[in-house]
Amino acid sequence: MSNPFLIKKDEKPSVAKIMFNIVLVALIIYLIFYFSLKVLGIVLDFSFVIVMRTRIFDGFIMTIIISILSLIISLAIGIVIAMGKGSSLLVFRYFSNAYVQFIRGTPLIMQIYLFYYIVGTAWGISNRILAGVVILSIFEGAYIAEIIRGSLLSLDQKQIEAARAVGFNKKQIIKIVILPQMMARTLPALTGQFASIIKDSSLLSLIAVIELMQTFREITAGNYNFFGGYIFLGCLYLILTLPISYISSRLEKSFAYEN
């Protein structure tokens, strides 16, 4: 019997080996929590979930709605800014560069406070959910712009020459060659970014958008069950992000035809 803890390079672990190690990891995680709770003398309690199920459900749905809306708007921003970064119109180019630098160089929490005063107070968007979506989109747009820009730059010029050579006109080159190839490169990364949006949306609780995070802040402020509350909250985020990560890695594999 080979060492149950190790695999050799290029070895595929057996089912028994996989199960053994998964159980081991679960045990380690359990022990960390068990001893931490024991020191504090806390017993894990999830009974609040039944009582608060409507609020939790509402918060859960709100997080999904905010994330989807932000994905759509930030995608639009990202496309415009990605084009801006390569634009021959200098004002557009410099603005796009400045935007990306600022957003990527400062923390989201600061941007939320800052933009809430701009978007919310100065622009008069009093609806907190809408303001939250706009702020989150401005933030994520910079990252999506970089994803799109990267895939634009990685387009193979030989492919475009070949497209001209077979007689495609400009529209056909974009539709038949450039867009599908860009999709293949951006889709996995965009899906991954969607998981980030879901996590980042939790910071909108700072401006009292009642999404998942804020719901749990309110619940735990009432029942003082911080451990139970936040562990459950973590699980809810994982329910959203794990499938997305899975889809992202599947997309990556299915588009791996380039290499």
Binding site: D156, K158, Q159, A165, E258
Partner: protein, 244 residues
């Protein structure tokens, strides 16, 4: 196809001269363009194919002036077939789609006609089993053969091949050259930029030797290779033959 080049010149970044004053006037069936790297071979091929604009000079095909604007060139390019060194197949499409999509979108075949023709050609060139594979799943030689099939599918006046075997492992070079030779026997005209001197000599009727952007020698392959006139070509050939 009658090709007439009149004082064709081209430079990149307005400094680096790639072609200077290239003249040629002949009825070409099969032509090999040979010469050292950086001599302007690929650039000349691209100008003849309407993929690059010359800075100066004129190109006449069958006594007709080729106007270098995108709209006219679009039409012009449809009558030609291209094969590139590598990476010329669309890597998100299967071998079959690489052939059928241009037939449908550019040459207005119905999907059914395009499929039929493409499968016929792929079968003939021993690629039928691989037609649903994407380029990355094909060997370099298979990729180039698919590219050749794509180039000839729409029955072009001529095909232009830019170093079609340079990126290949030696064992694949011959299968690609054989394919070109087979098409030649059916009367397909072509211009090939190549380092395969044997193919230039035996497989091509005419040969052009390009060095430093100048057309140094041109003529029947047999004559040019047996009796190179310029010192440049003599040196070039002796270098190539050093290990042969």
């Amino acid at each position: 196809m009658k090709i007439k080049l009149e004082k064709i010149s081209k430079s990149f970044n307005s400094e680096q001269i790639v072609l200077s004053d290239v003249n040629l006037d002949d009825d070409i069936q099969t032509l090999a363009i040979i010469g050292p790297s950086g001599g302007g071979k690929s650039t000349l091929l691209r100008i003849v194919g309407g993929l690059l604009y010359p800075d100066a000079g004129q190109l006449l095909i069958d006594d007709k002036l080729v106007t270098f604007n995108e709209k006219e060139l679009l039409q012009y390019r449809k009558e030609l077939g291209f094969v590139f060194q590598n990476g010329g197949l669309f890597f998100h499409l299967t071998a079959l789609e690489n052939i059928t999509v241009p037939l449908v979108k550019v040459h207005h075949y119905t999907q059914k006609e395009a499929d039929k023709l493409a499968i016929e050609l792929l079968t003939r060139f021993g690629l039928k089993d691989d037609m649903y594979k994407r380029p990355a799943e094909l060997s370099g030689g298979q990729q180039q053969r698919v590219a050749i099939v794509r180039a000839v599918a729409a029955k072009p006046k001529m095909i232009l091949l830019d170093e079609p075997t340079s990126a290949l492992d030696p064992e694949y070079t011959n299968e690609v050259l054989d394919t070109i030779n087979e098409l030649k026997k059916e009367g397909m005209s072509f211009i090939i930029v190549t380092h395969e001197i044997g193919f230039a000599r035996q497989g091509c009727e005419k040969v052009a030797f390009l060095k430093d952007g100048k057309l140094m020698e041109y003529g029947l392959s047999e004559e040019v290779f047996t009796n190179p006139k310029t010192k440049e070509l003599q040196q070039f050939l002796s270098k190539l033959l050093e290990w042969n």
